[in-house]
Amino acid sequence: MGKANRREFFEEFIAASAEKQIPPADDSIYNQYANKERPRGLSKTTGTLNKYTGTWSDDQIIHLLRRTMFGVRYEDVVDLRTMTMEQAVDELLAQQTTPAPPLNNYNTSTYTDPTGVKLDQTWVNAPYGDSTVNAKRRLSMTNWWIGNMIYQPQRRITEKMVYFWHNHFATEANVVAYAHMMYNHHNILRDNALGNFKTLVKEITLDPAMLRYLNGYLNTKTAPDENYARELFELFTLGKNYKPIYIEDDIKAAAKILTGWRYRTTNWTSYFNSNLHDASDKKFSSFFGNKTIYGKPGSDGAKETDELIDMIFTKQEAAKFIVRKLYRFFVYYDIDNTTEYAIIVPLAQQLVDNGWEIKPILERLLKSEHFFDMLSMDCFIRTPLDYVVGTFRTFDIQLPAWWKSDNRYKVYNYLRYYMGLLGGEPNQPPNVAGWPAFYQEPDYYEKWINSTTMPRRMQFMDLMLNNGFSAGTGTAIKIDPMHLAKKFYSPGDPNLLIDFYADLLLGIGISKTLKDSYKVASLLSYQTQDYYWTNAWAAYIASATNANTNTVRTRLVSLLTDLTHLAEHNLC
């Protein structure tokens, strides 16, 4: 039997074990150790929304970068050292340049886009074509997004906010099916990432992708479809599990208001068909102050949707709901009474007062003493995106500059697939509720780590630290362990080098004793004198011969294997 080369081997190995990843009910190990109730008795921060005025050093810088981007790039740490905390947050919240649209990555010697789009040109303005090219474009769109996350040219929170909104207004690309719709939907999230929540809800309500995904386009006066109305209340704005709350008749009334919206596949816009609209008056419960939204004939029927959204946004609950979700996305999942009153309530009030602008809310949270409290650090379990995209960003894995999008997207596609193995493939949430790790009591983020995904996380690092993957490009994409070390000012000092790696890679810090044991076992090959590493590194820098390169690489790989296999590597 022939031996596959190492890359093919891994790719086969991974391909053979693909499946959806939420901890299955019979994951007995997960069930034994995950939260069975909200964690009790932990020392938690009592910090408020008062502006943080404490130390601004690497602990705070790395905390901020980890939570607002995917993984930490050392260059960002260095830059932020020269800024104040406020400058750093302001920059992260600044407007991001709109990325260039997704490209034709799929033309090959045997396949040509039927609408005439050439390789490396964008397809977003081209007509639909056929189902084959549509499927290729759909992957192109998701993979383009992954490329944006990894190679975003500016230091911005935007990519993480797009992920936040994608999880919030969760749509499955395979169900929406149309690549153009997914792209336009994505752009709504991107354009409004730090914008106005109410505007965003309005745009999403009329978004063709959402009309398709939640059957809005089938919602007719003769056969109302309540799907979108229910999720609009329950998942997108008001939430549930509090009293008093909206009632079932409110959902029915909202569904009637939303009848008549349709989309076109010619220019990918939505439109209102008054013939399909239920123009009767819609009465709401006491939760909404017994409000009536009066039916309007003809094209005015579309205005009822605005009135519905205006009515929803009279409720303080809508503000609390989205603020809690933001808190869970950026700080910690467990919101106790202290946090509810110190953070959620005031931020929700601010959101209402400022007319639903998201950016000021985030700014206040991210600049707060609550956010920078030591007790708010390191407790976030890295999502599959943090893990995979973060690895590419932290280790600064670059693709060959001369590559066209065909090869580049092959790499992104492999990462898309691997994030799926870790239970978090972008554009493929399990359902409209998004990923349970962001909403499901009492275990939340813990769901990312289970019997299937934990070994795969470590396998990903093994893969990337050893032979990498080629994903059909013919080039091994992998971590160059020396590349990151070279960015550091003192890679020849084994103690400082381990501190450097640990800061970038590990959530909660590890002890000096443990660091020393890694140093001795890996960097010093069980020698006792630090200068053996110092000399080996100096020799490599002076002359990167096979011998010198081999010597430092094997030792760095050994060290990085140990560090990235630590439980701490999954926290941020």
């Binding site: 039997m1 190492r6 081997f9 891994f10 086969e12 190995f13 190990i29 997960y30 034994q32 150790y33 995950a34 964690p39 008795g41 932990l42 020392s43 938690k44 467990d334 007790l375 650090m377 390191d378 407790c379 976030f380 379990i381 983020y445 813990e446 780590i449 289970n450 019997s451 934990m454 070994p455 470590m458 093994d462 050893n466 959530g507 909660i508 044991s517 001795v520 076992a521 890996s522 090959s525 069980y526 020698q527 006792t528 004198q529 053996y532 080996a536 096979n546 011998a547 081999n550 010597t551 094997t554 790989v557 050994s558 060290l559 294997t561 140990d562 296999h565 439980a567 701490e568 926290l571």
Partner: protein, 525 residues
């Protein structure tokens, strides 16, 4: 047939071994069954690799008593007084460091084989590079990304980790104790080792606990992840189960701190607990004794003495434990270090990086004694003088692969990337057994000298009549007929001239009527 092919018929092998309750040797005329019998016998064998990091001073470990005047000139400041050297049974020329009473006892009980002067041509004096050479099994100027044990395990367990664990191999292929990734275990696809990252982490696994974490949100999630990681690591359950089946029994385990003993305790327990893991890697660092190798006043004490004492106590207790736990038939261990040290001591009471050093192999199945001779020491050694190479380190690996793990020669050559002769470290050889049937044990003597480079002489007895002595290579191929004629009854001798015979291990077989006897000899350049 390679072992990987054999593994596929593993069930048949077990069955074959038990036909009519007879050992399979009864069917030895069938080559397949013969091979299966060998493989079955090799099953369960364990090699414990004891890495002595830093470069062990071989001259103060296995001491050439017959070179004392030259040694006094070269390293009087650290030399062990001759009267303190531990003497060994059957030799007056070689002794052991006084801290190694445990190893001395094992040696005298026939449990130790010492190969002298082990190294490789064009030696490297850098710790890192020399370590990498020993780990990979490469030449001095060759850069290999896999480890020699990794390649061995690749052959034995193809496609690992895909499809593992499985009923044939439910356990780790190799267990490394300590952090880092042992490059010795690096296979083509993955590192074949399962690391038990620390002594504490082993007992955590055994007790199903994880390290304590602070009572904070971060600590809460860390503890959760640690449990999931521990419990989902492929081999946690196998290790837990093995550890629960056996406990350390020997009263010889040191009660004072001994880093090697802490590791070997775990190894002994896991072997006795039934793990099928064939390879364990343990490590003792601190051998880089550039200064203060010995106590200033009493050279039998000090840093190096403490390290050798640790080895001696730990290994002695380990094999005692194995004997009590009844695993000693299938356990062997060997020490190795990236290099030996310089002949001449330096002014700091230490020794600098050198070349060759002895390798010690332990276990019931070793040929007791010494292979090779005491190193030659110049009467007035200069700073740059080094010990000459006697045995390539890969000849030791060859013995581990061919004789201990019973690999066929072609596979062994592939793993070692060249043909090396097989040091006669183990009693039982693989492709040709050293056996005697019918005749008395002494009817065929050991050739002398052995190893030989030009000619060697074999003494033998004949009952009279046709007497044949043939030379076979390790794969059993006839190389030369040394003698084939009627002989008088009585003692005789015959000389083999090298005449272009390649360096390597050979077997010479005496046939005289129904009497047959086979022994091994080694030709060296």
């Amino acid at each position: 047939m390679k072992r990987r092919d054999f593994l596929k018929v593993g069930q048949a092998a077990t069955l074959a071994y038990m036909i009519n309750g007879n050992p399979i040797h009864a069917y030895a005329s069938n080559p397949l069954l013969e091979l299966l019998a060998k493989q079955t016998a090799a099953n369960g064998r364990v090699m414990v690799m004891i890495q002595l990091s830093g470069g062990n001073d071989g001259l103060n470990t296995v001491i050439p008593i017959d070179k004392y005047s030259a040694l006094s000139n070269a390293r009087g400041n650290i030399l062990i007084p001759q009267s303190k050297v531990l003497s060994l049974a059957n030799t007056t020329a070689t002794g052991l460091h006084p801290a190694m009473a445990g190893v001395r006892d094992m040696y005298n009980n026939g449990l130790v084989n010492i190969v002298q002067g082990v190294g490789y041509p064009d030696p490297n004096f850098s710790h890192f590079r020399a370590t990498d050479i020993w780990m990979s099994g490469s030449d001095s100027n060759q850069y290999i990304n896999t480890g020699w044990i990794g390649r061995f395990l690749d052959e034995q367990y193809p496609n690992f980790p895909n499809g593992y664990p499985n009923p044939t191999m439910p356990d780790p292929l190799a267990i490394q104790i300590g952090s880092g990734v042992s490059s010795m275990l690096q296979g083509t696809n993955v590192n074949m080792g399962h690391a038990i990252s620390s002594i504490d982490s082993f007992y955590n696994i055994v007790n199903g606990v994880v390290d304590p974490a602070p009572n904070t949100p971060a600590g809460h999630e860390l503890t959760f992840i640690r449990y999931i990681k521990q419990q989902t690591e492929t081999y946690t359950k196998a290790i837990q189960a093995a550890a629960q089946k056996a406990t350390n029994q020997s009263s010889l385990w040191p009660t004072t701190a001994n880093r090697l003993a802490d590791q070997l305790k775990i190894v002994a327990r896991l072997i006795a607990g039934g793990l099928k893991t064939p390879i364990y890697v343990v490590n003792l660092g601190g051998f880089d004794t550039h200064s203060q190798q010995t106590d200033n006043v009493d050279t039998t004490l000090g840093n190096h003495a403490n390290l050798l004492g640790d080895i001696s106590e730990a290994v002695n207790a380990f094999f005692d434990d194995c004997a009590i736990l009844k695993t000693d038939d299938r356990v062997a261990a060997m020490t190795f270090s990236e290099f030996g040290r310089r002949i001449k001591a330096n002014a700091s009471g230490g020794t600098d990086h050198g070349t060759t050093a002895p390798v010690m192999v332990f276990g019931k199945e070793v040929n007791p004694g010494l292979i090779g001779s005491n190193p030659s020491i110049p009467a007035n050694a200069a700073v740059g003088d080094n010990l000459a190479l006697q045995h390539d380190y890969r000849t030791v690996y060859a013995a581990v692969l061919a004789d201990w793990f019973q690999l066929d020669v072609a596979t062994m050559d592939k793993i070692l990337m060249k043909n090396y002769f097989i040091q006669p470290i183990f009693k039982k050889t693989n492709n040709v057994d050293e056996t005697t049937t019918y005749g008395s044990d002494d009817m065929l003597g050991q050739n002398f000298p052995n190893p030989f480079s030009r000619s060697t002489t074999i003494t033998f007895g004949s009952e009279g009549g046709m007497t044949t002595i043939q030379l076979f290579d390790v794969s059993g191929r006839l190389v030369k007929t040394v003698l084939d004629q009627p002989m008088e009854k009585g003692k005789h001798s015959v000389t083999i001239n090298r005449n272009g015979l390649p360096a390597g291990t050979y077997f010479y077989k005496l046939t005289n009527g129904k009497n047959k006897s086979t022994k091994r000899l080694i030709a060296v350049d």
